[in-house]
Each structure stands twice: as C-alpha cells, then as structure tokens.
Subunit: 333 residues, 2 copies
C-alpha cells in the first residue's frame, strides 16, 4: 500500500477492503467490524437491534430520480433491511460547505423528510457542521439507523448452501448510470433514473412469506452485484445467468460506452436475496406483488465451487466475476 | 436569512438554531428533533435507548491533548452521558480526502481505538468514503452512538427549579483555546491541552450517588457554557459567580487576546450538572473522587428570573450572558 489515501480506496472494491482490513479493523479490534457487514447486531436484554451507518458524498447533489437526501435515508434503511430489521429511528449528520444555496439545502431536507415518511421512520437526532468554502463540496450527509431485528431470524453467508437460489428485485445499474450520465453528459441515457428507494417494507413482505428460508440479503450499492456476490461466495460458489439479470438497454449501452461492467455498477434500490430452492417461487411472488419488486427475477444459483462467482453469458460462454478492484465510479453515493 | 449557508451557521449559536429551526425541523416534522437535544430517546419494548450523532471537522486534525479521532469518540459518548445513558456501541463514518497521509490516518484510527477502550465501548459498524483532493480537508468523522438509559431517570430543563445548584466538573475553555492557540500561533498558551475525555463513567458515579436529584446535564461543546445555560434557562433563570468558575490563567489570557468570552468557548471533557440543593455536596464529592472531576466546582444557582443567565462578576458587577450569535471559533470540533 502506498503512503497516502487514494480515491480508489473509497470504491467499495478490493482497495477499500484492504484499507479497512489493514488500517481500521486492526486498530479497533472489533469483532463486529471484522465481519465487514453493513450493520452490527446489538443485544440489549432480550431485544436484538441492528445498528448501521452510511456516508454520502454523491456528486452532483441532485440527479435523475433522486438527490443526496433521499440517498442518505434509503442507504441506511436498506442496510437495516438487509439485516431483516424494522427501522426504528434515523439520525442525520450534515457537513455543509459555506456558500451552499439555501434553496438547494431546503430541497435536500424536504427530500430527507419525504423519504423518511415513505419509509415510515423518523429522523430523531442529528448534527450540523459548516466548513469553509472549498473545504467540502456542497454537502456531505452521514446517516445512522437503529432497527429491531426479527426474533429467531438471522441472515448471512454462513447459512447458504449449494442449490439455493439468487433473486434480485429488479433492474440493475440504474443508479450508477443515472449519476454518471449526468456527470459525463451522455445524453442518450437521459431517461435512466436512479432506482433509489427504501426497501424495508418490501423485504418485510418477503420475510413474512418465506421466514427463515431467506438465508442471506445484501443491498448491492458501491461495487454492485459483483462486490456483494463475492462477499457471499466464501464457502460456496455462485453461477449467474446473464440472460436472467434485468438490465435496461440504455444502461447496457452506457456501460459499453463508459467501459463499465454493469455487475459492478452501484444500485440504491436493489436487494439480493439468497433463498432455499423450495421457497424461491414464493419469495419471487412476494416481490412481484410489491411495487419495488415488480421486475424481480431469479438470476442464479449457489453451487459448491467455493469462492467463485461465475457468469453464464448470453452467447453460452462463462466468465469469472471478480470483486471490483478500486473506484470505477467515484462519488456515486 | 440570506440565501446561502454561512460559516457562522455552524457555530452552535443563534444562527445555527435558526438554520435548524427554520430549515431542518419543519421539513422533518420530528418531535424529537424539535427538542434540539443532543440525543433522542427510543423506547423499544421495555427498554429505553438514547441515540445520538455528532460530526467532527476540527482543524487541525491533531492538536495539544487530542485529535479528531479522540474527539469523535468522546463527543458521542458525552452526548449519551448527558442523557444518563450507558454507552452500548458506536459507529464511525469517515469521509477522507484523497491524498491524506496514511500515517496520520493510522494515528487517528489508533486514537479512536484507544479512546473507545478507555470509555469501555466498541465501534461496531461504520462507513468509509473517499473524495477528491480539494473536496474535503483531510478527514471528517461522524460518530453515532446507542446507549441504554437508566430506568426511572430522565433529565431535562423542565425538571429544574429555583434553588437548584449548577456544577461543572473542572476548568473550562481548554479545548477551544488549545486548538485556537495552535491555529493562531499564540505561543504563550502552548501548555494548554484540550480537555477532550469520555465522561460516561464519571457521570455514572454521580448518578449512582445522587439518583434523581440530578435534574439536568449538558456537555458544553460548541457555544460553551453560554449556549448550554441559555438552553436550560427557559422557565427559570441562572445566576453564575465568576469567581467560582474554574478558568486557567493562560486560557483567560488567550481569551482576552482573541476577544473571546471564555463562557462561549468549546469544551470537550466537561459536563454541566443541575442538582437539587440538598444533594449538591454529594454530587461534588462524587465528582472530586473521579480523575475527570477533581477540579469540579459549584458555579451558580437556579433562580426564578425565567430566560435569564446572569454572571456576578469578580468585581461585584453583573452582566447578562446571551446565547452566542454565530461562529466565534470555526472548525473547533
């Protein structure tokens, strides 16, 4: 590792894992942090809580389909949802650059409020700092969330076995491409909107329907499906079918233009479910009955090729999907 | 209000209250936020939790007596302590500027770890973002904390009555002056160290000793004692005695030089206690028996002059202590 922090250290890929594993976890010696999960479990008396935090530095602040405020609420809600937790409360930390236009600030706060109501959760505490012009870029938001976990349900890669089914609740890559197309001025994808949405209710419906048959959930944000599936594939392997993965034509086109693999592009309203084969159809139905899961699809299966994520391509070939290395899309969330 | 955010909006004074009251609270319509308390109370089944968040943008990152890592842990611990809550877990959100020296990053992480151990709490979850060179300044840290509140104890300005006693656990102004003297190159205060320290254990001792006789606690960070005491003095008044307030000579000198009122300078290891007169001596003893409360003192009394914080000066005069207006000391925490 070189002696300074690189932009790529924030990309959700291998470099970021290295930064965390080598420079944060050893200092903090935290068992919970070591799991690198999106949330921690806290047991207080007879209650199990999920506790999570997310920082948001997206550029630009407002993009097709959303803004940093909506992103900040959804990011934390979805981390709680991935743990099967019902969100109880959010906190909102603002670092504002001197000179930020108040109208934009109000627009972002309204978006935070609207999204919190949509997710039926309240922002109960927060903090506001202002830094000099040039010391931040507009506004950075950090949100933290507390949720209540379901009794007798836990989720994680350890519960997965060969034969299990991998489901996604809809089209992938929309968020990353919506932000990038605005930034890079790619006009033909101007109709692609970010998928940013709070998923706790939808996840709740799946859990109500399938219970512990849902073995693992992940929300594929930075690093996309590629990063998440590689986290899951430790003692097992995963075989994806390219034809089954919902990708919009415009997103596919933009990825080709930008030299990106859609599997490593960030999503902000997607959840990966690994479900036992027997209950997979039920999970799919529960998703399809929810507005945020209408385009849900079974996209692959767990196999016994430990540590390998493979993609069966449309033309019948096969390629290995690695964890992305660094930062393909800086400031995407 | 003008149409853009000013540095002074982050100062912990009237301008910041306006920003929050006019632009954040109305959007979020949160009862809990409206209280502008440093933490929120969450009731889950039969358990009461305190939930809090704090952002840290101190400049420079390392200063006499501490650094941004220690500050970030203590700030959140002390917000929980002010609520009488035992800290259960912390989260750590990092926004790092590309180019930050890894050695400094490691030093800050070590400090986070050491301070968390000192406070007997674990960092259980977190988030890391990296932004381009020039988009942040070194590192911003946001911490969030969950604590368990004591049964049948609550604290707040509503419980205060005339005759109650105001206690502080030691010398004030050290943090603000330690950071400012480094920044402004004032050499004669070079021995002043920040008071940054985790106060939960000390507060626990006072509560063990005095129970509900402790009516209100506040940690006077940004805006100092002046801001905190004005928050407390709603239905009551407070009369401080200048002679009783512990201030180091060097801090007093630096304040004169910089044109600051020491009562509005930030502290990071201080707690204000409002205690019923009968138990005040016990509270003072509990504090004096703890390393962080050795210099504790009774500094004033609650009276019935609602909304007024007054200072009886050393020379026998009297002046009104207002909430500071804006930002006297930018980037102090």
């Amino acid at each position: 590792m070189s002696n300074e922090i690189k932009l790529a250290h924030g990309g959700g890929g291998i470099l970021m894992q290295e930064l965390i594993r080598e420079n944060i976890v050893p200092a903090l010696k935290s068992k919970s942090l070591m799991e690198l999960a999106d949330s921690a479990r806290l047991d207080v008396d007879n209650i199990s809580l999920a506790f999570t935090m997310d920082g948001f530095v997206v550029d630009p602040l407002i993009f097709p389909g959303g803004d940093i405020g909506r992103l900040a609420v959804c990011g934390t809600i979805n981390d709680l949802a991935a743990r099967g937790a019902r969100p109880l409360a959010l906190s909102l930390g603002l670092i504002i650059e001197e000179g930020l236009c108040l109208e934009i600030f109000r627009q972002i706060m309204d978006s935070v409020a609207r999204t919190a109501r949509e997710a039926d959760v309240e922002v109960v505490t927060g903090d506001t700092k202002v830094v000099e012009r040039g010391s931040a870029s507009g506004i950075f938001i950090t949100t933290s969330g507390v949720g209540q976990m379901r009794r007798d349900m836990d989720f994680g890669p350890d519960r997965i076995a060969a034969g299990d089914v991998v489901i996604i609740n809809g089209y992938i890559g929309d968020h990353g491409i919506a932000v990038m197309s605005l930034r890079e001025g790619i006009s033909f994808v101007s109709t692609v909107k970010s998928d940013v949405a709070p998923l706790a209710e939808m996840v709740g419906k799946v859990l109500d329907m399938c219970g512990p048959a849902v073995k693992c959930m992940k929300d594929p944000t930075r690093g996309g499906l590629a990063a998440n599936l590689n986290e899951i594939a430790r003692k097992v392997g995963i075989l994806l079918e390219e034809d089954k993965i919902p990708v919009r034509n415009q997103v596919r086109g933009a990825c080709e233009l930008l030299g990106l693999d859609v599997l490593s592009v960030a999503n902000e309203g997607k959840m990966l479910f690994v479900v036992s084969e027997k209950e997979a159809q039920k999970a799919l139905e529960a998703l399809n009955n929810h507005p945020l899961g209408r385009d849900a699809a079974i996209i692959g299966r767990v196999d016994d090729k430990a540590g390998l994520v493979r993609l069966k391509t449309s033309i019948g070939g096969e390629r290995i999907i690695d964890t992305p290395y660094g930062e393909e899309l800086p400031r995407i969330c």
